[in-house]
Subunit: 245 residues, 2 copies
């Protein structure tokens, strides 16, 4: 299965238990933390979804202001209702623990976990050529999007997922060598972009992955075979004829 | 499912395809690399096992001296044959890619990948109290072992796994606060210890995890309930009676 791991920690600021029409418990949790990036502390708020009986059990036990560690994976959902298309990138939690010896500090807006974790490790392929531009201060920034897959055991088929990527400085420059279809192993952190819809004035949210390390990969294929050649017969390699120039 | 991710890269130095009695293809691969730790380059050789049709296909395509990236998980196997017990910790590969732009250098013993990856992220519980001691140079070192589980879909039950842990310096000191049963999220790298069996003079190998980050966790349980109390009835909390001292 493709690599898809999310590690998030933070102070609990919201929990909500609901049930699907089929009766599956769904627990929504928000974790709030700050993590050190150089000399700054970056604020992050992550919403996670847990499914099943364990989620129902946890819903009773979770305490506001307590710090938790969650492990999970990214899941892309899209739908169409009344002709309008929607999509959402969920963090589906698989494990949830209380954090021991957590550095929780009271701040103006409430308690925050310092030294919080916000890490994603993900493999997949770029869905388009990356766009590289420079900010007004000449800082290079790359935008790209990654397609990745998962195995849906209940449906017996693979499912496709997408996430938008952002890479800054040296990392942006590394994206210049990549193109549509390039395979990569990424490490980074989740970030939420917020903006106001011009028409409805409603707040819009988009989750994206800020890339902190990119490893360019290539699929393993037959080295000798080019698309024009006939397929190799097992145990009977077809010799490539070289035309005289 | 518990977190269990292994990321390994290196130059291919061995590949071997065999079949189980039931006909499942099994591909064994060794990857050789060096990774920067401070100013040193630590050598690492990792053996990985891939199962299934894809493994059979890859066996034909892999090239000695080429650098590869593998993603997988740790699997503990134990057996008893003729009254002798054996065990082994396998890295079971799930993905395998060629590395693009790899820094492969020719060295005396053959090609080596520089800047290789050797990373493990694993959650579980300590199987015993950690042992903390000091080397002759007063460097603290902790030894412990971690039990972790996986879901065996074909058997329809959970499987138990074990790995030995080693932690140095400040990390060793952090283990002093942990005890048997402590839950942790670990990040580290795989290391192979080699020694000679005193009786048979045969070389023995043991794989262990050198811990680079430890996050102490606690299971989420009912805060109010002690083992002596009756279980809570849903929607009808049992009030704890406090005896006067």
């Amino acid at each position: 299965m493709p690599t898809n791991l999310v590690l998030i920690s933070g102070v609990l600021s919201k929990r909500e238990l609901r049930y699907t029409p089929k009766g599956t418990p769904v627990l929504e949790v928000s974790l709030i933390g700050k993590r050190a990036v150089g000399e700054n502390h970056l604020f992050s708020r992550a919403d996670l979804t847990f499914y099943g009986k364990l989620a129902e059990h946890w819903a009773d036990q979770l305490a506001d202001g307590q710090a938790y560690q969650a492990m999970g994976r990214l899941v892309y959902e899209s739908w169409e209702a009344d002709g309008v298309k929607g999509s959402r990138l969920r963090i589906v939690g698989e494990e949830l623990f209380k954090l021991e010896n957590a550095d929780v500090r009271e701040e103006e807006k409430g308690p925050v976990l310092y030294g919080a974790m916000n890490r994603v490790i993900l493999s997949g392929g770029l869905t388009a050529d990356p766009e590289i531009r420079q900010t007004s201060l000449k800082t290079p920034v790359a935008r790209a999007s990654l397609g990745f897959s998962s195995w849906d055991a209940s449906a017996g088929q693979a499912r496709s997922h997408y996430i938008e990527l952002e890479a800054w400085r040296d990392l942006a420059v590394q994206f210049a060598d990549l193109k549509k279809g390039s395979q990569v192993l990424l490490e980074g952190s989740l970030k939420t972009e917020v903006w106001e819809d011009k028409e409805s004035k409603a707040k819009r949210y988009k989750r994206l992955l800020e890339v902190e390390r990119v490893t360019p990969l290539a699929r393993i294929r037959s080295a000798e075979r080019s698309p024009e050649e006939p397929p190799m017969v097992k145990g009977n390699k077809v010799k490539t004829k070289t035309k005289a120039a």
